[in-house]
């Protein structure tokens, strides 16, 4: 009994036949299947859970699936099918937008694998230990610049200081981007050879830390940009 429920994870409401988890149409009566709560963006698009995605291939899959269940083509269908088409199209659009963007793709994978950040608040507030030194130096610099500005110093006196402070942080970001690229490749290799959970968890853990640091770095750079924008 239990083995058959894992094999057919969704049931067609039209004819009651079972269908594979990532099927979009009922294999028996060919009607569009309602969107269940199972499944994920990768599976929905027929992709493995890898971080390096061929952009042209993703576009092709997106167009092909749009062609199959866009609401335009269900105008004369039953209300249930129209609803299924709307839900499937919305989910497809979400999946496409998320997987198209490399940063969003990593965030999504981490969440899917149970390594999601606890929330944007926490992610931006706690200083990642690896960045303590840079953050400390920058805050000191920002304080002095603000003091100088309030003291009436002209922009060309403090703007170069900010520019100089930005350079090491940008270097750090480049470093992180390279790290992320390398970790992504390692993750994909693990997926490829069906590696054990312990190996996967180690890479996911590193990915999450790098992402949190990268987000923090981006916030720092945004702060500097805001300061530079002041008259």
């Amino acid at each position: 009994m239990s083995s058959s429920t894992t094999a057919t994870l969704q049931v067609c409401r039209e004819c009651g036949a079972g269908a594979p988890l990532d099927a979009h149409f009922c294999p028996q009566c060919t009607k569009i299947l309602p969107l269940g709560r199972q499944g994920d963006y990768f599976g929905f698009l027929g992709l493995p859970r890898k971080l390096n995605i061929d952009g042209a291939d993703l576009e092709r899959r997106f167009r092909e699936l749009s062609r199959r269940f866009h609401p335009d083509y269900f105008y004369n269908a039953s209300p249930a099918e129209r609803r299924a088409s709307l839900e499937r199209s919305s989910y497809l659009n979400d999946a496409y937008r998320t997987l198209k963007n490399p940063a969003a793709r990593v965030d999504y994978l981490l969440e899917l694998e149970g390594f999601g950040a606890k929330g944007p608040q926490e992610a931006s507030k706690a200083v990642p230990p690896a960045l303590l030194e840079e953050v400390f130096a920058l805050n000191e610099e920002l304080d002095e610049v603000r003091e100088a500005r309030e003291g009436g110093a002209p922009a060309d006196a403090w703007k170069p200081r900010l520019e100089r402070a930005r350079a090491p942080i940008e270097a750090k970001r480049a470093e992180h981007e390279a790290d992320l690229g390398e970790l992504s490749a390692r993750w994909d290799a693990l997926v490829e050879r069906g590696a054990a959970d312990s190996e996967r968890r180690a890479v996911l853990e590193s990915l999450r830390n790098r992402i949190l640091e990268r987000n923090y770095i981006n916030n720092l750079l945004a702060t500097i940009a805001r300061e530079l924008d002041r008259p």
Binding site: V11, R13, R67, H70, N76, S89, D94
Partner: protein, 602 residues
Amino acid sequence: MSKVVGIDLGTTNSLVAYVKDGAPVVIRDGSGDALVPSVVSVAGDGAVVVGRAAERRLLTDAKRTAYSVKRFMGKGREDVRHEAEHFPFRVSGEAGGVVRIGLGEREYTPPEISAFVLRELKRRAEEFFAAQGEVDNEVDRAVITVPAYFNDAQRTATRDAGRIAGLEVLRIINEPTAASLAYGLDKRHTGLIAVYDLGGGTFDISILRVEDGVFQVLATNGDTHLGGDDIDVLLMDTVLGDRARTAEDVQAVRQAVIQAKWDLSDRDETTLNGRRFTRAEFEALIAPIVERTVGPVRQALADAGLEPPQIDEVVLVGGSTRIPLVRRRVEEIFGKKPHSELNPDEVVALGAAVQADILVTGNREMLLLDVTPLSLGIETIGGVVSKIILRNSTIPASGSEMFTTAVDNQTAVDIHVLQGERELVADNRSLARFKLRGIPPMPAGMARVQVQFQIDANGILSVTARELRTDVEQTIEVKPSYGLTDEEVERMLLDSFEHAEADFAARLLIEARNEAEAVIQATEKSLRHPEFPAIDTEELAPGERQKIESVMAGLRMVLNSTDRETIQKWTHALNDATQHLAEVIMNRTVRAALSGKSVDDV
């Protein structure tokens, strides 16, 4: 078969088109004129005049004549206070409510005025089909276009106008996208396209990728208050100065400046107000208006992740793109000559007709994938907007947000939905306020209410909510901030002497839900029956219990949908699935009664 059409409901002119033998054609009147001026006038005897005749009445009875009403669609009284003075008609409305336009003794909402224009187009199309010898010449369904940058309230107002005119609005589509469909009829077309649409009252820029017949909008931007009207007002101000004038004088000047504007598209100079007026003077005057289109163009390109040279083709849409300065500026921005093979006044209606044809025939050669122009969010603590669906998301799109309660036994939560890109509530467009009711009483912070936002292929929002701990669907009262309620639209439809059938749908849905709930309850009672485990092993077929459980789960899933047919189908399925079980229980009860024992004693 009744007919379907595509309608371009413009600020200045409107027109209707249909697909004949696979190609879109604009419908013209006897004299070959395709354009119906979007002007509505109410004569002294109450008769409503639309189009050219109404336009002529601007010179004789300006105060009873409305034009450029598209600018007021989906707007509140406060939104238009500033520009209302430029119009001869009365503009009023309650604070915080929808705009009213006074013509003679009556007041009309903008959708009602637009409905007069739509009805005129419908009539024109029906006459045309009758003249073609069509047996069924009724036009009852249409695709109507709106500026891409229209917000939810403006789209909804347009759909309401269609309903008031007695049309089933198959789809609301964006004008630049419609234009690209008309241009892209040739399927071999592949590449990146920018559509620059400067009309009478609105400006849109859309960036599309066309491949394999899929027209995918990558980004859109614009200004729903920028167009030829602004040029006219500017010229009028220079001519009129501070002179005292009647409404009819003002309209005479307005027509003169429009004529001068047109002249200067073909000539280097013309006469305005009795003096020489050169193209150079004209261009110096309007340059700031044309310049206002540049920011949105750059933003759309940035959002699409593209640089101007990457754009393969630029398409011009809208009457104001006939102005040479506009063409030059567009050419400068993109570094290539824009297309203008098709009539910029007609191309949008042609595209709407193509989309209407796709919807009714199921023709899959082309597919249009549009985006939502503005981010959708909700108000959170401190008057800050939390975004749920980002701008330029492909539609249909959905998003959800979790809410909880702040005090013990709180049963309702207020939700304020906004559209726009700014951080603070006050800087965005208020779409609607919802009150989520029916949250089961529980300690503060325990309730988990998931609110689901769904933007459909028209770019119009709907909201559903569910308390996850109890799986109870919430009642949502939608109070559109600047729109009409369904009841108002319904009443206007009746007012407009169209036949409206009584709407039983809502009542039928409630009845279907009640029946479904009764069957679920009966099934649950059977499954809890003290003898059920024995029945299950002794009398039910293998898999019968699982079937009952899965059908019951299915019925629960559809129970709160608004789809009556599906609810009924699942109710019947559960009835069928439990029929045998019910018989078995009945037989046991009878046997037990005959042997003098209560079933519960067994």
